[in-house]
Symmetry: C3
Subunit: 660 residues, 3 copies
């Protein structure tokens, strides 16, 4: 408690993985230790985020009820080890977690220190057990009604896989892409259902306490859920951010690149619940331990890392972990309090200083960010692209492509939401949808409406190929977007990794900012103009002279199509031009055609009265940031229009209505 006060920690998250401590044997509960933690924290003025313990199963539960342990894709039931690996369908697991959640809600729901429920932990992974398969079949019956419809959606005639009985759905066939998509949708839906079970007693006994569950960002691996859907069932969005600071070489973009990728997920998380601040639930105060090379944070980086989250809309900076455990596989994970056990460490001092600073940022808490630009990153689209065979099976790079487009906004200090394809597009002037391979029902219509109403839409190669079941659109690509984009894509060539195509800007592209030559790799569409105009052309091989970039005026807006995967130079010229054309400004309110100096980022939060501007330097050298007139520093002094920012430093400036 002494160290906590010293460190300026005002909120703590507890109870994660504590099931075996709370219920050491079935039906026998020991809450006294948790009572004491509550009392102590409350007595010291700290607020509490209380986790339900479902993230880790006690050994007794796993041993007595094998059904709570997952079955892997090979059909083998996992032994008891690790975490985050309970069956999400198991009635017994649901019953047991309901029992303990009920007791927790009854005991602590009314405690004045309780701030928030934290449901489970970092939900991930699939279970292939008979219970899950049976639930999947029910879900399918509910969705399709008849096997006829299922066979059509899954195109099951192919390779003689027509389903003639629901029971025949008992494993996942990697060759049936519609099945893969439905399985992932089902798993997402099953987690939402599981969370609802967890929340029921909490909401019954403590209706005033909101709930969240901590996401793990892009869940960048195979057994993923659609977090954008899960977020809709929570009160608050939160995520655990573990950037790989100092792990990228200069040629990989260094920490600026890490910062941009981190901001991408911050903006993704924020956009899940646009009307509310989100929470940074976990980040390490020092080095991770599970990364290949877990580097110490350089001086200034702890503050920069925390303030970046705040700048992008978080109302918290919570650390994992408070104190390093002596044993277990995370004993080398960074903590506020090290094994040494005292406050005389660099890390503890850095945490203390940031805590003090956050305490003073009163204009920020609860304030919102309302971007005018959005980049679509869509989980289901990603699954479909990943599952697809052809035309490339290496370097498909959906996520990197989304990030590359996002980056052009980020490095201009332009606020941007990262949204799913079914999100509301009304708030935006620009919507960029890289590789929107799958068009779910309504998406094409939504985009057409958006453009018609004056919006700017940017699409690329690999767009409009398949519907929500991964059935190809007939009659020419990009399917239902043909009209709004004014093109027909006849073929898509893909280049060897060692090959490049050249893209040459037309004269009519000059005003947008395109000029000269660009290099294209990987994807090269061969398209026909169907009402649009070409802004650039290929110049190599047999496709020389064919359109490479097109623009279509549609209703009051503009729809661009970029037919090849072009280099960073192109992206910068092109999206810079689109931003200027749409009249979008930087966080400081300045024109945003040119990128900020390398490593600089800029975000603003507004509570209606005060604009709080965060200018962050993710490089290790001093940079000059243009912020324009009217900003004051924390001492109320006016700052120059171009400010100098040291390496690994954040500057915070304020502007109110009357300072302009």
């Amino acid at each position: 408690m002494r160290l906590m006060r010293l460190a300026n920690v005002n909120t703590v998250s507890i109870g994660i993985f504590s099931w075996a401590e709370l219920e050491p044997s079935e039906g026998f509960y020991t809450f006294d230790w948790l009572d004491r933690v509550f009392e102590k924290l409350a007595a010291n003025g700290r607020r509490i985020i209380l986790a339900t313990p479902s993230g880790g199963k006690p050994n007794w539960l796993a041993a007595r009820y094998p059904e709570v342990r997952r079955v892997n894709e090979q059909g083998m039931r996992e032994p008891q080890r690790g975490r985050h690996n309970h069956c999400i369908t198991s009635p017994i697991y649901r019953k047991k977690i309901t029992e303990i959640n009920t007791l927790l809600a009854q005991r602590y729901g009314a405690h004045p220190a309780l701030l928030l429920w934290h449901i489970g932990n970092e939900f991930t992974g699939y279970c292939y057990c008979d219970l899950c398969m049976a639930a999947f079949r029910l879900w399918l019956r509910n969705k399709y009604g008849t096997l006829e419809k299922l066979n059509h959606a899954w195109w099951a005639t192919f390779w003689s896989h027509r389903f003639t009985s629901w029971d025949q759905v008992n494993c996942i066939d990697p060759n049936i892409h519609g099945m893969i998509l439905d399985w992932r949708r089902f798993m997402t839906s099953q987690v939402i259902d599981f969370i609802a079970v967890e929340c029921e007693p909490l909401r019954r006994h403590a209706p005033h306490i909101p709930a969240t569950t901590n996401f793990i960002g892009l869940i960048d691996f195979d057994e993923a859920y659609d977090y954008s859907k899960i977020a809709q069932s929570m009160d608050i969005a939160s995520w655990d951010s573990y950037p790989f600071w100092h792990n990228r070489s200069p040629s990989e973009g260094g920490d600026a690149s890490v910062a941009c990728d981190t901001a991408f997920v911050h903006d993704l998380t924020r956009a899940m619940k646009p009307d509310r601040s989100w929470l940074l639930m976990e980040t390490t105060p020092s080095a991770q331990n599970w990364t290949p090379v877990s580097r110490l944070r350089r001086p200034g980086m702890l503050r920069l890392n925390g303030l970046q989250a705040v700048a992008h809309g978080s109302d918290s900076v919570l650390y994992f972990q408070w104190r390093k455990s002596r044993g277990g596989c995370e004993k080398f994970h960074g903590a506020v309090v090290d094994h040494a056990g005292h406050e005389h460490t660099r890390v503890f001092q850095d945490v203390t200083a940031l805590g003090a600073e956050l305490g003073k940022l009163s204009s920020v808490a609860g304030s919102l960010i309302r971007p005018r630009a959005a980049v679509i990153y869509d989980w289901e689209n990603r699954w479909a692209i990943d599952a697809a065979l052809g035309p490339r099976n290496v370097n498909k790079d959906y996520l990197p492509t989304c990030r590359a487009h996002y980056r052009e906004f980020w490095r201009r200090g332009v606020a941007v939401d990262v949204i799913s394809s079914i999100a509301n597009l009304e708030p935006y002037r620009i919507v960029v949808a890289p590789m929107l391979y799958m068009l779910r029902p309504g998406v094409a219509e939504n985009i057409a409406r958006f453009v018609n109403a004056g919006g700017t839409f940017v699409a690329t190669y690999m767009t409009g190929i398949a519907d929500e079941n991964d059935l190809c659109f007939l009659g020419g690509f990009p399917g239902p977007l043909k009209e709004v984009l004014g093109i027909w894509v006849e073929e898509t060539d893909v280049l060897n990794d060692f090959d490049r195509q050249t893209v040459v800007a037309g004269e009519n592209a000059l005003e947008l900012g395109l000029s000269g030559h660009y290099a294209a790799q990987h994807y090269v569409d061969l398209l026909h103009l169907r009402g649009s105009e070409a802004l650039a052309y290929y110049s190599d091989e047999f496709v020389a002279g064919r359109p490479a970039v097109t623009r279509n005026r549609y209703g009051g807006g503009i729809a661009y199509y970029v037919a090849s995967r072009n280099d960073a130079h192109f992206l910068s010229d092109f999206l810079g031009g689109v931003i200027r054309e749409a009249g979008i400004k930087s966080a400081a309110g300045l024109p945003a055609f040119h990128p900020l100096p390398h490593g600089l980022s800029m975000q603003v939060r507004t509570d209606g009265k005060t604009d709080t501007l965060f200018v962050m330097n993710f490089s290790d050298v001093e940079r000059q940031a243009p912020i324009g007139k009217g900003f004051l520093n924390v001492n109320g002094e006016t700052v120059p229009e171009v400010v100098k920012i040291s390496g690994y430093t954040t500057c915070i400036f304020f502007r109110t209505g009357d300072t302009v």
Copy 2:
């Protein structure tokens, strides 16, 4: 049908993977849709290749009879998914396929449009179930009679693995190489048996219709059969050719290298049934979808790809697939008719043009190719080399070595058969046998007889090591070939990948065409002359001065031994010399010592009256091809002795007896 007529398609292959459509539930058949397809095609003058549906199991069959699903090497039964994965031993599967094949034969066997039976599809893979293991034991009992003989063949005393009961044969031990070989032989034999079961009702009800099964080339992976054996049970040989056009960099040889590797399999397939044309059963009209990077075919390449097969002896160019399916994992595989659904595509037009041209090539159909040279590529030899431990376990490269030797014939326009080690050698003047590690019974005698009768035989390092059970020959290598080659190989050194040995030609090698220095890698034999003469010597390290290439005059012929893996420069000089010495000519009838310009290939087909010469340019630039006198073009005009061939182009010329 309209599009088919437009596209000049005269033959279609149907019924593959249609089991679930033909028999949607057990014993309930629905042939009406197939009747309609037959009627329509016949009415439009198309011929039909009808496939038996065994390539894919219906879900109901897999669910009701688990034994039809394969068991993998780890002992786990596979779930129902994918294709080509039925147990080939299962009595139930055999019964069911017999039933449906009987119905197909009864219903369509007499249909005038029926041209050919297509058995199953791309047979591949092993099953390790109890039924297969029991059949394997029977096969072994039949082969060996006693456990004594089996233990000797498998050298089972090693590591205490003596079999004292047939039941102890219940898994495949990777350490018992004789067992691995027998297992693969058994699997090959079991597939032949399965195909016989499939064919029985077809031959009973439609004895006039020939049958084929479509191979997948070199079946370049672990669970392979000896296709050269399976072909003997079919009427016609056919294969599915999917070259990786445009996927190799210039330093890898570009498309010339792809073309040469493709020709290798064409010649392998033709040589399986030397008295009959073969069929190109599948090739894509556009891009594959399952390759890492599936490139569009460049203009000209569709025609070149098709005519290459014809030039090497195919009487067909059949495409997979006619129309792209909307869903499933092959929805992006190239097709004549794209998702767009109409004929106004580049691919459709290319298919149409080639179809028209093939219709006019009357001199070719049924004509044969009779090469005077052969390269031995032997599946069993490959298995033995792959299984062997030592002296190298990386870059053994049996297949690449066969291809490298083959290439010297191909790029000189010299026709060559690719044959198994037990093939008849009488038709040839030259037989090249790279790395003939395993000498099956009779092979050494066969080779000796061939050389004695005047033939030229070329052997290399790693020859004559083991017998058909992978038992080493005692008394010195190359075992029973010691006498015909006139050498004793005492030791084989292997070089690190970063090391090279130098091979220096002797003066007596000049007339053959060898001179100066060559670089050797990987394998370096230390041999003693035992009657042969040395043509070249090593010059580095402790083996300096020892023979590197030997020549032995044996009876009326010559036997060469190349003791180290030498560079391409050596192979060209050496095999060029051997070809000249043997007096073999190019397809155009000219001397073939020098290779044709890079990317050029030349093949001739003869129907007794007319020579049809195909001159193919697999580079993207114009080349000059020497063809000599007497050729006419398709318009009957005389062509010059050296013709210019544009990039990615085939020229066809004709010569009859009286034009010379």
Copy 3:
């Protein structure tokens, strides 16, 4: 027998993997063939090492008693194949091996030709069957007594894994590092127990015959035992040495590097039983067959390889194998007698010559080596480092780091023991303990006592982190070594592979031999001096100026701490200085500050009267070796103080008390 006499072979090892030959069916024994082998060998004056046959199970045993086959970590019982894969817990296997060992001991125990028992073969690998798990639980109960203590040692509260019943220990959780360590200790203990069972009848019936089991060196993979413990239960230490001669490029250090790594294991094996010579139980007379590229030994290398073992304390050079088997997976493994079957081979002649020479080395047999320096290489420490997550999870390189430190002694001709962390340190003046992450009970005290008594101790980054249960030391690192080293390590930074830190020597380091700049990679400790002095400093980034090397005078000795992983140049300067400071001499008795010329190694064996000096040249060019005065060659002639040694050659010199 004729060939054996010719080859000067005086001892043979037999009976390995002969179970199926000795007991072809259960209870039916056939010793007659072995009787004949004994008779023949004895009649020809050869001595016999008789192996118990437990290394390979007969098929009948594996089929009748499934429990003798191992279960892998995934819970699947292995089929019968391969070797070294019996369950070491199975009561049936123990009973059966006891029966046959009893018969062997009764029959051959008193045979005059019997020299030694050879227990099993190359013990390796784990079994996860129910029998082993039950034995593990018993072992744990015995070790911990209560679950309370087990839960604490395993830090089981983490992720809710508290054990509330012993039965819950039924698989190995990779996240519980204390469990991994205990499992490996248990497996080691179980093998010792198994060996005791094997030895019981041997010792009962032939108490005068010693026993050994042949280790496989560093057992450089996952399923390892602590050989240093197993050796304590044997009479003699032995190992099977298969260096990868001629497989390393010059930039990797070539054969000098192979020789140094081989010497490391020789010295490790010798130090397991410091009061007795060890045995080289297996080495190949030619090329291995299982290495990626199995090179022939260059002329001279067979002798060099054999004499190196003798120089490091072996009293034998035994070859695997006498004769190549015709079949099986080791048919290409080097042998004295090749498939050719006669003595007219290079290998046979080399074996013959070395045999003759060894017969004359009378001063060596039984003589000992007593090094004054030791490098700690500790199996349990290695397991702990391998299991740890963080701060680096790539290139942890514990073994390479131990080898790099060892090398500085080896290339100076300084004898060194390779010992476990719990070994007796009294014999040494220098103890180097790279990365001693885990300090088992008593180790820190032992080190403190050693330094206090005048010893020199060298520690590095990653030292003193955790106790024997992998629980971190609280209160600051390096835990209980803080005082003797005089430092506190606050943080450990780890560098990206593409980064370097600079280490600059201080002026006070000049006398030790450090000067100028060195490059550090991977690990960079940030430490505080707590009584020690800094000898070098970092000069880059935010740690510039902080100590990089420290020296602490403690009692009569000195303790060094090297805080970063420095380059080879540093290691040479630093350890050269430490050797000089401690007054340790080369094998020839000369100062050893400077390394010998590249590729040279020097070792001495002393029987109290005569020093036998082995000077070995592992390079392929002539080197000059400084040996000082007083040495005679084998003919009794005085040799110069600096002798010339040809490439791949060993020279043996002798010095007696009166020659100096």
